[in-house]
Subunit: 539 residues, 2 copies
């Protein structure tokens, strides 16, 4: 008999809270709550149910749901039977959802009743036969969908739990989701069991030992990043390994999120800046006690203004950096420290320092490291044991992502003197004017410091003389001329102070009521370019 | 170009504190201190030096040193060039050291001047040619050893640092050391890069998120488990990954350890009970401020009496469980909590709950799980991604260790109602009398509660009628008759209270001034059996 090889499998993440007898609960808003033993029993039941439907190794199982206890159950049961869990981005258009279902080759779809109309629209164009399980929060809500295999809870009640989940190769694919790039069709990003286990350990080893504010077993965790988006940034796996209390909020509504934070005394969340802003500005937010709440901000740059406003409410904010292709964690800033440091490089966002096991380089076009002088910028390329190996069935895209043996983030940045990574721009968002690079983020940060500005986007407009010239589009409810004049004054001050090149001064500022967002809540610069760059050509 | 496969390698542990720009230092008593950048530079230099001596992939490099900055450098540089680091147990006899050097096939020995006399005694019987580097704490200390390749610091100063360390298979052997079992020759236990990286991540993910008392980046770490012993329980790798301040105490002397704890405000250590007892009872210990000190106790059972006496000094104690073959961490008790819980099972030691990624079962002789009733005991068998795959060049011993696909710890225990593992005995220490199992630990625990008892050992003596009968050997400086009578009274009370079977009452109690210890500070029951069991047969 030889040693057990111990492949790294998702089932081991689930084993930890059971072995440690976590006393905490998993809560789905006011819908359902249970302890870890029942959670594990339900996963065994779901594993049995999926097997009874003919699903197993090699199957792909799609989920279309709000953030629920069911979704977390699927995070474990689907990969644990050897299948791939396809977390469908339910904010995409029906056509895009159809594309991803067909591209993934889903063998089953677990669909919340809210998304059945969408599914009905595309169902006859889904090319592969599939099992359909309907999910619902409320028994009376159930529609008489005769084409489904049944309702989730009803099927669960009848299923025979599996006695145990199998061991298999740790490089087996566990999850799949689609990311919408700047061009072309959505791309399938996938992760193996090994990658997810290492991400879980790496994030726990990175966030746990932060003095005074580390993520710990007594935290109350609530994601505000949808679970379809990079597995809710992978933190549900970490929270489960720690046996922490977990609160899943269902559909994101500011009032409901606020009341859940208060009711469950949530201490640990993560979201994109837009969502944090939405919560802080929601009706009733002034009266909510947010003082025990720590939030990791990622997905987009965290502006100084938003960080300040969160801190004034007692919310501990720290920025983190990663992307769909990186599982996602790459860097994280310590709670409450980074934003109070004097900023070595103005108008940049500190994304923190590399997590354990993450190698970050800043390189030029020839893959040479740029000088580590705190000023020179270059593309951020990375290695870690949890990066996607490529895009599903896209060897060209995968090769481009990994050219030179490093994963190309497409982001531009530098390391400052403290060792913190500062993202200065998206490579494709850099504005090239008269041979100089202007950071769109720098302009957006300055604009967002002006009173009454809720959001700002800088894009490059084609210019026959300079190549491109900056255009600033700003969301504000104040009188347009006042805002414009304040922004121009703020930018002029930055130029005078040497924080900004004078070439970076926008020729044009547009005031709008709100800016378009992508399906995951980021600024949609593709939409802005389509609208404003064409406007300009027509003007 | 395809994705970087990212093998798990020890060099990544070292990369983390550099990427995070740790502000902390590594200190070797009053000999040497430096920051992480210099630490990394010296590892590159040591890698170069070892390469210049012809060492590399496939080599085995032995270290014989006290706990020093040099030792920590070897922890990294030797495996990082692809060699195996053999950490020689310098407390073994010269003959045993010779055996391990020959069995390991060491290609180089890095030897502190204090151990040169030992090496001189055995040198002509070392079968393989080897490089010899002399280590010393003080320049004037250097002996004119003409047969060496030079002195460590002098060679380091001349060496060309390697530009970078190579990638290779994560299953490459990284470390090797020898464990002395109850019978036979020392056995070689080895670990791969993958196992050590996963242990480092698993321990950080297990100890970091402990609310209020987790191991964190601002801790000041000092090992008091020798670095030759299971890599100082693997915590030097964890402390390095976190970028914590590390203090290496050199040779263990109670007064020096106390003054280092105080001078550096050490917050985090680990040791066997004997060492903790030695420190707490050292001259001057009453005056030392130990209130910020947290200590993980493993290697032997933590008695209630020692835990109490540590807590009265303000030391936060928590038990942990593991062994040489398990890298070593398997379970850990939360700081300060376990010892204050009412003990569900009297006279047992709570070893805490399984770490993430650790599967623990309690089984009978047929490998069936014993009832989880909080009473039934069985052998503890385990799986984890960091267990040794076997003993070096010992297929029979390896097969026995891993029979049934689980690593057999040889320990007997149970899970109590709280989920904590309680070790009731070593399988080979269980006393079998009249068909019943008597826990030697239970007897030792009761004896240690008696005033004036510093240590106790229970062993089984062959008995024609009962198979075995318990013998208790107790270290005490009180009058022997008084102690014996107090111990008999304590045991009788436990029998009356139903905490102990009446068959467990020892026939004989011996009072001695101290008990023999193994090379790693554990009670040496082998020596006691040799002495007392033979005595009895002769009597």
């Amino acid at each position: 008999m030889t040693a057990n090889p111990y492949p790294l499998l998702i089932k081991q993440i689930l084993a930890a809270p059971l072995a440690q007898k976590s006393p905490h609960e998993i809560v789905h808003a006011d819908i359902r709550r249970y302890g870890y033993p029942e959670f594990a029993a339900r996963i065994a039941r779901l594993g049995g149910l999926l097997g009874e439907l003919g699903l197993g190794q090699g199957s792909t199982i799609a989920v279309m749901d709000w953030d629920s206890h069911r979704y977390l159950e699927c995070f474990f049961a689907a990969p644990m039977i050897g299948a791939t869990l396809h977390t469908v981005n339910i904010r995409l258009s029906a056509e895009q959802v159809l594309y991803t279902i067909n591209h993934a080759g889903d063998d089953a779809i677990l669909c919340h009743v809210d998304f059945l109309p969408l599914l009905a629209d595309i169902r006859d164009r889904i090319t592969r036969p599939f099992r359909l399980i309907v999910m619902q929060d409320n028994p009376v809500q159930a529609p008489a969908d005769l084409q489904s295999d049944g309702e989730y809870e009803a099927l669960m009640a009848e299923a025979t739990p599996v006695a145990g989940f199998p061991d298999f190769d740790e490089n087996t694919r566990a999850t799949l989701f689609y990311t919408t790039g700047t061009t072309g069709a959505p791309k399938g990003v996938f992760y193996t069991h090994r990658q997810l286990v290492l991400h879980t350990l790496g994030v726990a080893a990175g966030l746990g030992p932060i003095p005074g504010s580390g993520f710990n077993r007594d935290d109350v965790y609530m994601p505000i990043t949808p679970l379809f988006h990079v597995h809710g940034w992978g933190i549900p796996y970490v929270a489960t390994m720690l046996g922490a209390k977990q609160v899943y909020p269902g559909r994101y509504e500011a009032a409901r999120l606020l009341s859940l934070i208060s009711e469950h005394r949530v201490t640990f969340s993560h979201c994109v800046p837009t969502i944090l802003s939405m919560i802080l500005n929601a009706p009733g937010a002034e009266d909510a006690d947010l003082s025990g709440w720590r939030v990791i901000i990622g997905g987009s740059a965290l502006s100084d203004a938003l960080a300040r406003s969160a801190r004034m409410r007692g919310v501990a904010i720290n920025a983190a950096y990663g992307m769909s292709e990186t599982c996602p964690f790459l860097t994280v800033a310590d709670m409450m420290t980074t934003r109070t440091e004097p900023q070595a490089t103005p108008n940049c966002t500190a994304a923190g320092k590399p997590m354990p096991m993450v190698d970050v380089r800043i390189v030029d076009e020839t893959m040479s490291d740029v000088p580590a002088d705190g000023v020179s910028t270059g593309e951020i390329v990375v290695r870690a044991p949890w990066l996607t190996s490529g895009y599903l069935n896209d060897p060209v895209g995968s090769g481009d992502l990994w050219r030179g043996g490093w994963l190309h983030t497409g982001d531009v940045g530098l390391f400052d003197a403290s060792g913190a990574l500062r993202i200065t721009d998206r490579l494709k968002d850099v504005i090239k004017t008269g041979g100089e690079w202007v950071s769109s983020l720098a302009l957006e940060n300055l604009a967002s410091e002006v009173a009454g500005v809720s959001e700002a986007a800088a894009i490059g407009c084609p210019d026959p003389r300079w190549g491109e010239r900056p255009l600033l589009i700003v969301a504000s409810r104040r009188a347009a001329d006042d805002v414009k004049s304040d922004i121009r004054a703020r930018i002029a001050a930055a130029v005078t102070a040497g924080q900004l090149s004078k070439w970076a001064t926008p020729d044009r500022i547009e005031i709008v009521s709100s800016l378009p967002k992508t399906s995951v809540g980021k600024l949609d610069k593709k939409a802005l370019r389509a609208q404003y760059v064409i406007d300009k050509v027509q003007a």
